[in-house]
């Protein structure tokens, strides 16, 4: 009888110790997980990568156009844009369509490199620097490539980050360090 009690007691205290130890570990790793998931700089880093991916994709979309499939191409342009840039695109769409139909060009682009230069998470605005190589393939002529230095401004929308401004980096004597707006 006493022996059974002793065994029971040992088992119980062992189980209690194991449970306490495991709970301790669980609390420790749990809080570390929480901290990792709610790390501000981690969130910022993920947003930065999100902004860059959105910026590069948008630049790619806006430098890709096939005269045989204008509607889809230009829809993709508009989907990548918001704000002033979107207004501009919509305004110029009809005229632009006409031009591309006449020229019958196929334009493709490669993003060579890109960087986020500024990011304001609270305001939902960001600036990017993107280097692209654009290939224009006209009918009956050899395709030509040109490299383009782009400055983009992105704004957060309900549907992700979109370009609200895009332009060539001005080539001049005046050094500036902010995207043109």
């Amino acid at each position: 009888m006493a022996r059974t009690t002793f065994r029971h007691r040992t088992k119980l205290s062992l189980a209690s110790a194991a449970a306490a130890l495991a709970l301790g570990f669980a609390a420790w790793t749990g809080s570390s997980w929480y901290a990792a998931a709610h790390d501000d700089s981690a969130h910022f880093a993920r947003t930065r990568d999100e902004v860059l991916a959105a910026g590069e994709q948008a630049v790619l979309n806006m430098n890709t156009l096939d005269h045989r499939d204008l509607e889809r191409g230009l829809d993709a342009w508009e989907q990548s844009a918001t704000g002033d840039l979107l207004d501009e695109l919509r305004e110029g769409r009809v005229e632009f369509e006409k031009q591309v139909r006449t020229a019958r060009t196929v334009t493709t682009a490669d993003v060579l490199s890109g960087a986020v230069t500024e990011l304001d998470e609270r305001e939902g605005r960001a600036g990017v620097l993107i280097a692209v190589r654009i290939t224009v393939d006209p009918p009956k002529k050899k395709p030509s490539t040109k490299e383009s230095r782009l400055l983009g401004e992105l704004t957060r929308t309900g549907d992700g980050w979109k370009l609200s401004g895009l332009g060539q980096a001005p080539a001049g004597e005046t050094p500036t360090d902010t995207p043109s707006d």
Binding site: T5, H8, K11, L12, A15, S16, A18, A19, L21, A22, L23, F25, A26, W28, T29, G30, S32, W33, A35, A36, A37, D39, S41, A42, F44, A45, R46, R48, D49, L112, S113, G114, A115, V116, T117, L119, V128, L129, A131, R133, E147, R149, L151, A169, P170, A171, G172, E173, T174, P175, T176, D177
Partner: protein, 218 residues
């Protein structure tokens, strides 16, 4: 309705206060009457029989351990994301340090004055390392060979730059620069060019140095 609820709550509160104030009653008699031969301590533990308690504790230990392992792996995964390894922009001090150094370095090593070619050499010694030394030599070879005759002055100004990646002691920066190449000889002219390239920099001996120049050539 709300009045009634108020009243009910109030009564509850009052009852609770009263309950607290009344002295605790004498300990109740042990509920399950101890059977002869059994120690009271065993049954006094309450309604949970021992084997069940043991099982519950074991289950708790197993569950907690499982959670600990899971949480640990999740925390590690969250910390090990490539996004987090890259501290461009998140580490503002380091980002502006890298950006600043690259700006100075590019301005200096891609500027050349036929009257003072040593200045470019010195800048190259200071800011370049590894593969970039040879790349820079090749890039400036033409300017150097014609420099004296045409009295060339090449100047480079970084207009925009963005830090793509900082991974501890390595970083990559995208650079947009304006270049002007002026021949100050008689009948000489000036040409302007817009340049874009990326540089890989490494942190060595307390300073960032350009280790590779990527001109995106195919």
């Amino acid at each position: 309705m709300s009045t009634t609820r108020h009243m009910v709550n109030r009564q509850r509160r009052l009852a609770a206060v009263k309950a607290r104030e009344t002295p605790t009653p004498a300990p109740r008699a042990p509920r399950p009457r101890p059977k002869s031969g059994e120690k009271p301590a065993r049954t006094a533990r309450g309604a949970v029989p021992r084997p069940l308690l043991l099982a519950l504790l074991t289950l708790l230990a197993v569950l907690a351990a499982a959670f600990a392992v899971f949480a640990h792996s999740r925390a590690e995964a969250a910390r090990d994301l490539p996004a987090l390894r890259n501290t461009a922009l998140t580490d503002t001090a380091r980002t502006s340090e890298v950006k600043g150094t690259v700006g100075q370095a590019v301005d200096a090593v891609f500027s050349y004055d036929h009257a003072a070619p040593g200045r470019t050499e010195k800048a190259a010694d200071k800011y370049l390392t590894g593969k970039a030394v040879g790349q820079h030599r090749d890039m400036l070879a033409q300017v150097r060979s014609q420099g004296d005759r045409q009295k060339l002055v090449l100047s480079t100004t970084v207009t925009h730059s963005g830090v793509e990646v900082i991974d501890e002691d390595r970083a990559r920066v995208l650079v947009f620069a304006d270049q002007s190449n002026t021949s100050t000889a008689k009948g000489g002219s000036a040409t302007h060019a817009a340049a874009m390239f990326a540089v890989d920099v490494v942190h060595r001996g307390g300073a960032w140095r350009i280790a590779n120049i990527d001109t995106f050539s195919r």
